[in-house]
């Protein structure tokens, strides 16, 4: 599903340049549920943003589902983000002036799907995250966990190839974090590929594989043998 070959990324701060990703190689298979860990400032978000086509990389190659993602024009990038990728952010990033259904339906607006149809589909996805009764509430009327579930429904609605989540539980208490992770597990059980950035071991341990990033490269990958299916049984 995802293949990274020698990805390099630097940020220039004034005259200096900060080399964050120093030749990252990574393979993530279709239907995998992985977590990315690493110390603060190690480049986890940078990597995830590149995977999400929110940012560009300096050199190397990035294949998403067999398509080379490189030097895309803005419209093409927008289309790929819309079709292939679902985002879940630490700070939810819901539009404050839209209610839950409208937020969930928004990606379909950019696919040109009619309002009625989008809202119908959005209701289905809200049902999947257990928020049918909250469909017409504004984000300000929802708890952190509820907001994150709305964001997950929004990420899922286009049926993307991958879900990218940058510290999705970072702003949540441990009970709510568990709810969110349970949701991810359900999504994964249906065959979706998920990548979760986290610095909580507890969260990482609920994924199939932990990718550690250190000094700008992937640290020796430690395979975790199907712990997920084990605990679920």
């Amino acid at each position: 599903m995802i293949k990274l070959n020698a990805i390099n990324k630097s940020y220039s701060i004034g005259k200096n340049s900060l080399h964050v990703l120093k030749g990252v190689n990574l393979d993530i298979k279709d239907g995998e549920f992985v977590s990315i860990m690493g110390s603060s400032g190690s480049g986890k978000s940078t990597l995830l943003n590149i995977l999400g086509i929110l940012d560009e990389y300096d050199s190397g190659e990035y294949y998403l589902g067999g398509t080379l993602i490189k030097n895309l024009n803005q419209s093409k990038a927008a289309e790929y983000r819309n079709r292939f990728i679902g985002f879940v952010f630490q700070s939810f990033n819901l539009l404050s002036f839209k209610n839950a259904v409208e937020n969930v339906a928004l990606p379909l607006y950019y696919q040109g799907i009619k309002r009625k149809e989008r809202n119908r589909i959005a209701m289905e996805y809200l049902d999947r995250v257990g928020l049918t009764d909250w469909a017409h509430h504004m984000p300000s009327e929802l708890s952190g966990g509820q907001k994150q579930r709305v964001a997950i429904a929004r990420a899922l609605i286009t049926n993307p190839k991958i879900i990218l989540a940058d510290e999705p539980t970072g702003a949540l208490d441990s009970v709510t974090s568990q709810e969110v992770m349970q949701l991810f597990k359900q999504v994964h059980a249906k065959g979706m590929t998920l990548i979760v950035v986290t610095h909580e071991n507890e969260i990482a341990n609920m994924t199939e594989r932990i990718i550690r990033i250190k000094d700008g490269v992937i640290d020796t990958p430690s395979e975790k043998t199907n712990m997920l299916t084990g605990t679920e049984a």
Binding site: Q74, S75, R81, N93, F97, P107, Y110, K114
Partner: protein, 407 residues
């Protein structure tokens, strides 16, 4: 269709922002309409004043020569005669209304019973009252029959009536002018008021016969139907040449017979109009510029404020084109509606004020040229759109990571 739905949504759920953007546009258009309307009101008032004071009228008055001519000396008296009146009337079809004026020589005593006063007497033709804009309160003015039959009739001004008749009705009573009795057949009031109302009018033929006039007249006044200043100047020159030939004096001698028309008044008037128009334009352009600056500022702030939203939309698949379209359509929609509201309110207020305030000499019938108002609104809407285009396309090209980081 769906695009508009999305825009209505965004607009209706961001009421304060919508209001602020809309308000500045509505206010700008409203002020512009009020200004343009007031300007037109001033202009109408000035036009009206001009209409009362200075019709296309020419005064011809006898005088004395100031230049030698054909061996004749300077200082020769030139008097107008009844024949001048008749000849001019017959020769110049441009003349609309015309009257002579004959004044009684020496002191004048006007009395009724035992009351008397010091009034002016003008002996005139019937059309005189059309030139002077006198309003007949009762009875009639001097007419053609009075002239032909040398009737001893008089038309008196309201000031004369008050002073020698008091509460008594003057109609059908006789007043004495230097001892000769004249029947009062009419009472008038002049629009100019004051001095003009202390006037007694007599038929010119009767007066010339009764007071030893010998066919001489003091003044001829006339109005003409020339529409342009050039025509008016030409008529004046023609009259001067004609009279100079008839009375044997140098046509360039302006003192022999004085001919004055309202050109100077006209000049003053047109200068005033020019200034009013300039004033309207300066203020109007200033208002539009202020509106454009206001809209640009708001668009800049709106786009800045929405950076995060733009980032989110881009992460969900919005193309730069989508983003620019959203912001532009929103801006055009709000400014159009607001502009329309300002237009309606402004025109409404003008109508209300125009109907409510009494006509004065300086302000009358404020109104606005709708085509100008609509063009101004469209200009503002377009300016708002263009002003929004730069920040919108800038925002649309910010990489999503950067936009999302915005707090």
């Amino acid at each position: 269709m769906d695009k508009w739905q999305e825009i209505f949504d965004t607009i209706s759920k961001n009421k304060l922002r919508t209001f602020l953007t809309g308000f500045s546009v509505a206010w700008g258009i409203f002020m512009l309409i009020i200004l343009l309307g007031s300007g037109t009101g001033l202009q109408n008032g000035a036009e009206n004043q001009f209409r009362i004071a200075a019709v296309n009228s020419i005064f011809i008055t006898g005088g004395a020569t100031s230049m030698p001519y054909n061996g004749m000396p300077v200082g020769r008296r030139i008097e107008l005669e009844n024949e001048d009146y008749a000849l001019l009337r017959a020769s110049y079809p441009q003349i609309e209304w015309m009257s002579s004026r004959f004044f009684i020589r020496g002191s004048i005593n006007i009395s009724y019973k035992n009351k008397f006063g010091d009034f002016e007497v003008r002996s005139v033709h019937p059309e005189h009252y059309l030139i002077e804009n006198a309003i007949i309160h009762e009875g009639r003015f001097i007419n053609q029959t009075d002239l032909e039959e040398y009737k001893k009739v008089a038309v008196i001004g309201t000031a004369v009536q008050e002073s020698i008749f008091g509460d008594e009705d003057p109609m059908g009573k006789y007043i004495k002018v230097n001892g000769i009795a004249f029947l009062v057949v009419g009472i008038f009031e002049d629009e100019e008021g004051g001095y003009e109302n202390r006037m007694v009018y007599l038929p010119i033929t009767t007066a010339q016969r009764a007071f030893n006039g010998k066919g001489k007249i003091r003044q001829i006044l006339l109005t003409h139907n020339s529409s342009s200043v050039e025509q008016s100047v030409m008529l004046t020159a023609n009259l001067r040449n004609y009279l100079a030939r008839r009375h044997n004096y140098d046509p360039s001698d302006l003192r022999a017979i004085r001919i004055s028309n309202n050109l100077e008044d006209y000049k003053r008037f047109s200068d005033l109009m020019g200034n009013i128009r300039l004033f309207i334009w300066i203020i109007g352009i200033g208002t539009i510029i202020a509106g454009i600056v206001g809209v640009s500022n708001i668009m800049m702030i709106v786009v800045k404020e929405r950076t995060k939203e733009i980032g989110i939309r881009k992460a969900l698949g919005a193309t730069p084109y989508n983003i620019v379209g959203l912001i532009m359509l929103e801006s055009i929609f709000i400014t159009s509606i607001a502009g329309y509201i300002g237009l309606v309110l402004g025109v409404g207020l003008l109508e209300l004020v125009g109907g409510a305030i009494p006509r004065t000499e300086f302000f009358e019938n404020p109104e606005v040229n709708l085509a100008v108002a609509i063009s101004a609104t469209m200009l503002l809407v377009t300016a708002g759109a263009i002003a929004g285009l730069f920040p919108a396309s800038k925002a649309a090209s910010i990489p999503p990571v950067v936009a999302l980081r915005d707090e």
